[in-house]
Amino acid sequence: MDKHTTSALLYLDGITVSFDGFKALNELSFVIEPGEMRAIIGPNGAGKTTMMDVVTGKTRPEAGEVYFEEGAYDLAKLDETQIAELGIGRKFQKPTVFDMHTVEDNLLLALKSDRGVRATLLWQSSVPQEKRIDELLEVIRLKALRARVAGSLSHGQKQWLEIGMLLAQEPKLLLVDEPVAGMTDAETLQTAELLREINRDKTVIVVEHDMAFVRELGVKVTCLHEGAVLAEGSIDQVSANERVVEVYLGR
């Protein structure tokens, strides 16, 4: 087979994953164009997290194809570290920052740099790195808390820090899993603003349950159900779809 030809940044075709006979993903296909921001919605068990696991190399698909960067890389053949190096960053559903490290050190660890053993052993702080960390702290609004231990941050602040860590890796594609779960309304709005800001130069996939937040993002929406795409379009189109209302939004 030839190398895949597509203009998409991320290309999924016929992805199937099953756990003990249960099909978490059932011939899932969709594409993300470069520079796009896409919201993914769907009921619990629709396969949203499994889809992210496939893209980041945590789970291998049984069937189907998953390509990155106009078909240049077959993600099904790479492991987590290699995929991270390609420029796919992931934010987990539960905020997973390094609790024992300071906000600053969390960003330092995420900063794009040589990840090898020797490089980190001989590492010395440099002015460009410090500047980059300052910029990131500005973006995620945590400048005043830079020396605080990440474990002592509020839930919302941890989510932002994690988004900051994603940005620090300078990824081409960001996968963001439920960024506003457990946030206050004000924090939710700020997060939407933050993601739009990030989308100016990065491609973003957001998985989210909060419909108000998805509406606030104002981007194309894909609704998953039973491991496949149920509907795709603007938030108004998707929420008008009968099947979506039936399985997800409720009458």
Binding site: T56, E80, T81, A84, E85, G89, R90, F92, T96, V97, F98, D99, M100, H101, T102, E104, D105, L108, L109, A110, R115, G116, V117, T120, L121, L122, W123, Q124, S125, E130, R146, A147, M165, Q169
Partner: protein, 381 residues
């Protein structure tokens, strides 16, 4: 490299530790050799050897703290690396006995003559040279750790499963070394050492020299550990400890980090074992006993994991208690006391002695520190 990393690694606690260790290495020999034995200040030669042994335990505890306290790798088989280093030293010391053995065989150690072995096994070759033995002291534990770690970390064996297979590793080695045909003296081990590098091992001067050398080795090990934990590498280790999956998604090769630090730690344990053997005068397979490795982990827990200085302190405190209690009427109850101590520390002092102190100071000094950090944003680096 600039002087900057040295400033980073030598914080107040580290400097205090090195000063105390240096003072110890000077004071103990001074009170032993210079103060007359009738004086109340005299330190007996027995105590010198005992303290020398504790220092070696301190180095073993340090090596465990490096992997457990910082990388979250709980090895319950580190005694194996300690014992392998000890055996490498023991083999050198056996070859030094020469014709002074009971059977006066210039080449074969006594136990081989006793077993009617016609010639020296291949793996005993070279141990008449101290340089070769010194190399093996580091290389053998390091190589075993590398091979073991290669398979374990690549297969992502973590947590309690890793701890169990490290136990199995040290147990298997113990069974092997107990066998006579293994070629390491069976259950008697290696003993009756006469001299090291041409110096008589039984003199007071030698006891003191070994203590000082052990202190130097501990100081070197401490500096290596400090250099590692204060580098970005150290930050990655802590990240692995707290969230391995996250670290992997950040693009770090977790297995490479673990393998490096595990191998280094095993080399340090080997050096500790090698210095231990001439001071106790014997190495036998019971050093591989799983209980020994667990005991060493308890020292670290008591002193405070992830503090380095705590590990050394824990090794001292627990072993001093052991020496004290096992020589009195409480001797039969020592293991109960050790178990009780471990439970008490886990429940009441989960951060250990040094860890609790640092935590307490951190809380009381927080306001002050916060003010400092605002004043100079890079103070935290």
């Amino acid at each position: 490299m600039s002087a900057f990393p040295f400033i980073r690694m030598l914080d107040r606690g580290a400097v205090l530790f090195l000063l105390l260790l240096g003072g110890f290495a000077v004071a103990i020999p001074a009170f032993n050799l210079l103060v007359p034995s009738g004086s109340a200040l005299h330190v007996s030669t027995y105590l010198v050897a005992l303290f020398g042994k504790y220092i070696c335990y301190g180095l073993l505890a340090l090596s465990i703290d490096l992997i457990w306290g910082y990388a979250g790798i709980l090895s319950l088989g580190h005694g194996a690396f300690f014992a392998l280093g000890g055996y490498a030293m023991g083999m050198y010391l056996m070859r030094q006995i020469g014709t002074r053995g009971v059977y006066a065989n210039p080449i074969l150690p006594d136990f081989m003559v006793f077993l009617n072995w016609p010639e020296l096994p291949l793996y005993w070759y070279g141990f008449n040279s101290f340089a070769y033995a010194a190399l093996m002291i580091v290389l053998v534990p390091g190589l075993l750790a590398f091979v073991f770690g290669w398979f374990a970390f690549r297969s992502r064996v973590t947590g309690v499963y890793l701890s169990i297979i490290t136990q199995a590793m040290t147990y298997a080695l113990m069974l092997g070394f107990f066998r006579n045909n293994f070629g390491f003296g069976g259950n008697n081990g290696l003993t009756d050492f006469k001299e090291i590098l041409g110096f008589n091992m039984q003199t007071e001067a030698m006891r003191n020299a070994l203590l000082v050398i052990s202190c130097l080795a501990l100081a070197a090990g401490f500096l290596i550990c400090r250099a590692i934990v204060t580098s970005k590498f150290g930050k990655v280790l802590v990240a692995i400890r707290d969230s391995e999956a996250r670290t992997r998604f950040l693009g770090y090769r977790v297995e490479a980090y673990k393998l490096f630090v595990f191998t280094l730690s095993a080399c340090m344990a080997g050096v500790a074992g090698a210095l231990y053997v001439p001071q106790v005068g014997i190495i036998n397979p019971s050093e591989f006993a799983p209980g020994n490795s667990i005991e060493a982990v308890i020292w670290v827990a008591v002193g405070g994991r992830g503090t380095l200085t705590g590990a050394v302190l824990g090794a001292f405190v627990v072993n001093y208690a052991k020496t004290f209690f096992t020589s009195g009427i409480l001797a039969p109850y020592w293991l109960f006391m050790l178990g009780g101590l471990f439970i008490a520390v886990t429940l009441l002092l989960p951060r250990g002695i040094i860890g609790s102190y640092e935590h307490w100071r951190g809380q009381h000094g927080e306001k002050h520190d916060a003010a400092m950090r605002v004043a100079s944003p890079h103070a935290a680096e």
